[in-house]
Amino acid sequence: MSDAAKREGDPAHDNSTIVAVLLAAAAVVAAVIGFRAALLGDSGSDTFHTAVREDVKRGNSIVEDARFIYEEEAPNALSVAVQRIQAEETEREAKSADPEVRDLVQTEASKHEGILGIILEASAIASEPNYARGDGFDVIDRLADNRAETPELSGLDPDATADLGIDRSRKATMLVAATIPAGLAFLFGALAQGFPTRRRQFVYAGFGAVSIAVLAAILIEVLA
């Protein structure tokens, strides 16, 4: 008897084609799902890194704007406020002062007014009437205007970018999990070869597992 003839009579080799088809289908499904998972995972990872980059950009711009306003512009504005208040209070005192010293007090008030006139124009906050508030100035309003000058930085939302990365990465690992039924199909395919008497059941179960893998991948792709 030839080998081929022996194989035909051997139950282990009956319908072995269908087992091969099952294994090939499982491999193809696993490869396609794995490829999609790798693409999504890579995209998720890139998005995470983008979130960090955006956070660095936004953070630096916040720090620099706060430093500029509170260390450069606000102190100048405060100096203006100090001179103005001193000028007003000294002027007020001059009006009610003893006539002997009234001129001297008035001179002191003029000194503050003189300084005020010099430093007022140098202050970006104090020279802008919109920022005046009580005896001082609205520094927060000035900071908001300064931030608005760089909308490409103040408008960054790294949290949203990170959330997008989380979604993509989670979807990618869910797709990797969807290859487990394809692995199960391999198990059934191997058992079909090892247990020829139950081959039919194992093959059915194997194709069922492949179908589950495909269905799971589609559901993850559409719903997740």
Binding site: A77, R133, R147, S154, T179, F186
Partner: protein
């Protein structure tokens, strides 16, 4: 020359049904184990990266909050100092004056200075106050400017926890990857066992593959236990 049938070109390796069943089960289990370990590796890699990103962004957030709040607080302190200096100047002038005209003059200026001190203090407080809800600032800047010490302590704890999480997930991921390698070795050994059949070498390959698979499962699971 007659054509060669690849199916029958080589004689099939001799193996008993028992050996065949054992081989089939191990091949199947290996095929199932590989995607499971791949998922373990991928999931923990994702969690590790996510934790690292959370930790990095947390560290940045802490730095930004400190670096943003400090100039505001420094400005508030400077404004207070400036107001006190104005008040102190008036008092010093009185203390340094003799009686008569100079004292009258000093007292007049001290009155003005005392009132100015209070107004400057108020102006400084107002200029250095934290942004309100309707400040017009973008939320990130408003949040950074309004950070307090208690908040920073919470952020530091969360940042440390994220880095610890990254370490834990990293260990699981590395062990999953190692287990995946062992599963691949087991698959190769099973292939060899299939080729060599139920010979001494074939049995050795089958036993080695079994051991490799058991170790792979243990290694993959160990990251969740230790």
């Amino acid at each position: 020359m007659s054509p060669v049938d690849v199916e029958t070109a080589f004689p099939e390796s001799p193996m008993s049904p028992r050996f065949r069943r054992r081989l089939a089960i191990l091949v199947g289990l290996t095929a199932l184990l590989i995607p499971v370990l791949s998922w373990v590796e991928a999931e923990n890699d994702r969690q590790e990266e996510q934790s690292f990103v959370r930790g990095s962004r947390g560290a940045l957030d802490i730095f930004v909050r400190i670096a943003t709040t400090s100039p505001r607080e420094q400005f508030a302190a400077d404004a207070l100092r400036q107001s006190l200096a104005v008040g102190a100047e008036g008092v010093s002038r009185v203390a340094g004056s003799e009686s008569g005209l100079s004292l009258t003059y000093a007292l007049a200026l001290q009155e003005a200075s005392a009132r100015a001190e209070r107004r400057i203090q108020k102006a400084g407080e107002q200029m250095s106050e934290a942004p309100g809800e309707d400040s017009g600032l973008d939320p990130a800047t408003a949040e950074a400017l309004d950070s307090g010490t208690a908040e920073l302590i919470g952020l530091v704890a969360a940042q440390n926890a994220a880095i610890d999480d990254a370490g834990r997930y990293g260990t699981r991921q590395e062990r999953g990857l190692y287990a995946l390698g062992l599963a691949a070795i087991a698959a190769s050994l099973l292939g060899l066992a299939g080729l060599m059949g139920e010979s001494r070498a074939g049995r050795t390959a089958l036993t080695s593959a079994t051991v490799a698979l058991v170790v792979a499962v243990g290694m993959g699971a160990s990251g969740y236990v230790f």
